[in-house]
Symmetry: C2
Subunit: 199 residues, 2 copies
């Protein structure tokens, strides 16, 4: 059977990924080299090339894993129930679950989304937010019929959500996921009161 060998290979891959993340945290993705990864993971440099073509393919697989799991959790959200919870100022469990997932994967996410990470990943996360969540919400609003306007509205909200997550990731895990979900609700309430404040 080949399954055992596959498991061995997977173990090595997980080992490589772990030290890869540590290296990005320490020096940034740009300055990570295959040589450094091999040294840090105590494997031969040749072994790395047995699993990945280069550091970019490694980064790609890492991102895929995170995005797939995130997408699965976002799919749990039902727009109507989410709006109801927001209106009633209650915490919506699938919403909290997303922050929990982000918290559990804080290290790799911080490394990839951070200052020395991969700029293309931010856009990929925005796309996940957008496709599953906002597209259904915004499109219902009468003012969002204008194609042009909706595009920028979309960019505004997805960027805002990601921005809050990035801020949370940087200040480490001082706040638990539930706290974070609450803050997100508060922000939405604050925003909707802005007009009242201005007048």
């Amino acid at each position: 059977m080949a399954s055992i060998h596959e498991e061995m290979g997977q173990k090595t891959k997980a080992h490589i990924q772990h030290h890869f993340i540590a290296l990005i945290e320490a020096e940034g993705f740009a300055h990570v080299s295959v040589k450094k990864i091999a040294e840090r993971a105590s494997i031969n440099r040749g072994t790395f090339y047995l699993h990945y073509a280069d550091k970019y393919e490694l980064m790609d697989q890492l991102q895929r894993q995170l995005l797939e799991e995130l997408q699965a959790r976002i799919s749990e959200i039902l727009p109507k129930e989410a709006l109801l919870a927001l209106h009633q100022q209650q915490l919506y469990p699938p919403f909290v679950a997303i922050f929990q997932f982000i918290g559990e994967n804080a290290r790799p996410l911080r490394a990839i989304l951070g200052d020395q990470g991969d700029p293309s990943f931010a856009k990929k996360m925005k796309r996940v937010f957008g496709e599953v969540l906002l597209a259904r919400l915004i499109s219902q609003h009468p003012a969002a019929q204008d194609e042009e306007f909706r595009k920028y509205m979309h960019a505004f909200l997805t960027s805002a959500i990601l921005g809050v997550i990035q801020e949370w990731l940087e200040n480490c895990e001082e706040q638990p996921a539930e706290e974070m979900a609450k803050i997100h609700f508060q922000i939405l309430n604050f925003i909707s009161q802005l007009r009242t404040f201005i007048q």
Copy 2:
């Protein structure tokens, strides 16, 4: 006089910067090498090192120029007048001027803020937005007394603004700067009506 020589040096530097931007657009910052820059700019590789320590220093100076000019234009904004204009649904000239500047420097900004750019630049731009503009606006609101909350509110809004700009930069200059400023106002109005829509 050394001034002429300085001008010569500046001319070469501008020449290098120009082709550097073109290279980022074509291959992304990570894949840009000093050798490629020299070849593309038709200068000797040694000449590059006469002006910059490496490609990172070149990127740094480019970013500094853009951020300084942006900061100067943002400083022109008077919070009270801006809020008044927003309330009266009028275009606020200093606001339009910012979008004009961004439009004029679309190529370098797109290259640096884009998928293959420098992830740290996004944060630098958010800081410029935040320090000059939002800090004064948000801090006036009673709900923003909580330090923790204000931090995330800050992240939410600066990220949202930058997100709209990034979206604009990608879809090239189909929309003029004034159009863009209008759309931004529309978004703020839309946001403030969200609560009404939800209820």
